[in-house]
Symmetry: C2
Subunit: 309 residues, 2 copies
């Protein structure tokens, strides 16, 4: 049995897409195959069932079956960081318990995101109830900070209080807020914190500031290039900045489009499998013109189907 | 068997609170008792499992059991408009199917609210998939417009397209946007539309503009007073504006506070049952000072425990 990755986790994680059948049910075998392919490209781990994975567009049962499919399909659970945060604490608890039981290295947890203007006490209580109800010493929580989707902030004071009340549990955070100053402030507040930038634009900056790496939608297709940046940084390569610039250009070619649809278009193109192009509502696919422009921009940024690993 | 209310529904609907036990599980008997009490106060119907009911803080199974408890507990399903809109279409379909099977007069449906900046096509597809998947001629959908919570708008063009594609299904909307101009625009666009204002502040204005009534959090405690306004309007009473002013003052006494917590404090005070004071995170109860101020303001507005009906 492979040992769990040391905590906090670090490296390049893909926010894994969820392939779907024409009836929009999860395509479990395609999901497992995509996860393995991402690891073969060089990703250190898999952030399954996040925003890019359309997690909140699936029912709890479907999300549990996707986690189970990954592990039963042969993906090392120590490389998995499933998203488990729902609006309902009971759902978050059910998903988190299953993730921990499956051996997942950590869970990525959105705050309950229906209500807005919630108090710091309410936010604290959301996460504290989760830990209390899961009641498992193996639980490692990465807070999922994504104000553009949740409408919620994640005050540093609340994180500090959680870390004090539950030592060793709140080991990191995925910062999808897009503000570098916020990521820096977190790393200053919590030395050794497992901070993952939500975009590989900030991969090198995050590593230099003592953070963990990136969990990004676009690493579904830039995973190999992002891994090169990570390794170049570790090796102290003089080339690392040029590599980060190249990676940033790849990201830039994609991020002008709705990400899930754009990434599914790229995967359909690369794999020759048009079945990739399914998303659950409220998401929408790219139209043919947008897709053609995207694919041209991706190619111009030097991004193409990697050779088999 | 009581006949279903004619469509679109109309009148004063309470956005029913969900009583909880100390472990935050639903208190089913207390929920049924509260629903019956609201009808006895004069509410025409019950908007169970909406924002005030903390619906999204409960799992699908808990929501289904709350609907079943209401009907099995003797509440006429023709007076129920359960909230069934979730982030996941599969959850929305499961809840809506159960609501229709139970005989609910209509369902109140949030758009899938995790993703933001969704396209009109994605929004349309969310509701169209629901109707297609439920596949039941009895389905009557009231769209739940609440941009402060969902971060989403509900363009009139999308509603028009849905009404054209599914005649007789999209019969109304609960407008919790708080903007009277928006409600007026909807009523101009769709004569006979079942428009419910999300606050009883606009009850008289809504009725005069041809709308249906109100579905409001605060009618958990102002239901009797709101019913008086409704009846006075129907009867052409010269007193109706004074009654609306009195009702608005009651609403104003409460709406400065977080509504769910405030309403549970009032119900605890009126019923002498402190067990009312439970909310699921991320919501939070009022502290003692805020509660005391609230209860004083409520009394000053002329709002007190109604005598048994």
């Amino acid at each position: 049995m492979i040992q769990p990755l040391p905590q906090p986790l670090s490296g390049v994680f893909a926010a894994v897409l969820t392939p779907q059948k024409p009836d929009l049910s999860p395509d479990y075998p395609a999901f497992v195959a995509h996860g393995k392919w991402l690891l073969a490209q060089g990703c250190h781990g898999l952030g399954i069932l996040g925003t890019t994975g359309e997690a909140n567009s699936f029912s709890v049962d479907e999300r549990i079956r996707l986690m189970e499919a990954a592990v039963q399909g042969g993906i090392d659970p120590a490389k998995l960081m499933p998203g488990t945060g729902c609006c309902a604490i009971t759902d978050t608890v059910a998903l988190t318990k299953r993730a921990v039981a499956l051996g997942a290295a950590g869970v990525l947890v959105l705050p309950p995101f229906y209500y807005k203007k919630i108090s710091d006490a309410g936010l604290y209580r959301s996460f504290a109830e989760l830990v209390d109800r899961v009641g498992d010493a193996r639980l490692r929580v990465y807070i999922y900070h994504f104000p553009a989707m949740t409408g919620l902030e994640t005050p540093i004071a609340v994180i500090a209080r959680l870390r004090e009340a539950y030592p060793g549990v709140f080991v990191g955070l995925k910062d999808s807020g897009g503000k570098w100053e916020h990521m820096e402030a977190l790393l200053r507040a919590f030395p050794g914190f497992g901070l993952f930038a939500g975009t590989e634009r900030y991969l090198l900056a995050t590593l230099r500031a003592g953070g963990a790496g990136t969990i990004s939608a676009t690493t579904n297709v830039t995973g190999g290039a992002a891994r090169q940046v990570f390794d170049a940084y570790l090796q102290g390569s003089t080339d690392v900045e040029a590599q980060q610039e190249r990676l940033t250009a790849m990201r830039a070619a994609i991020e002008a489009y709705p990400l899930v649809a754009a990434l599914k278009s790229i995967m359909a193109d690369w794999s020759g499998r048009p079945a990739w192009k399914q998303v659950r509502p409220p998401l929408d696919l790219l139209d043919a013109a947008a897709e053609a422009k995207l694919l041209a921009a991706v190619g111009a940024a030097g991004l193409s189907l990697p050779k088999a690993a």
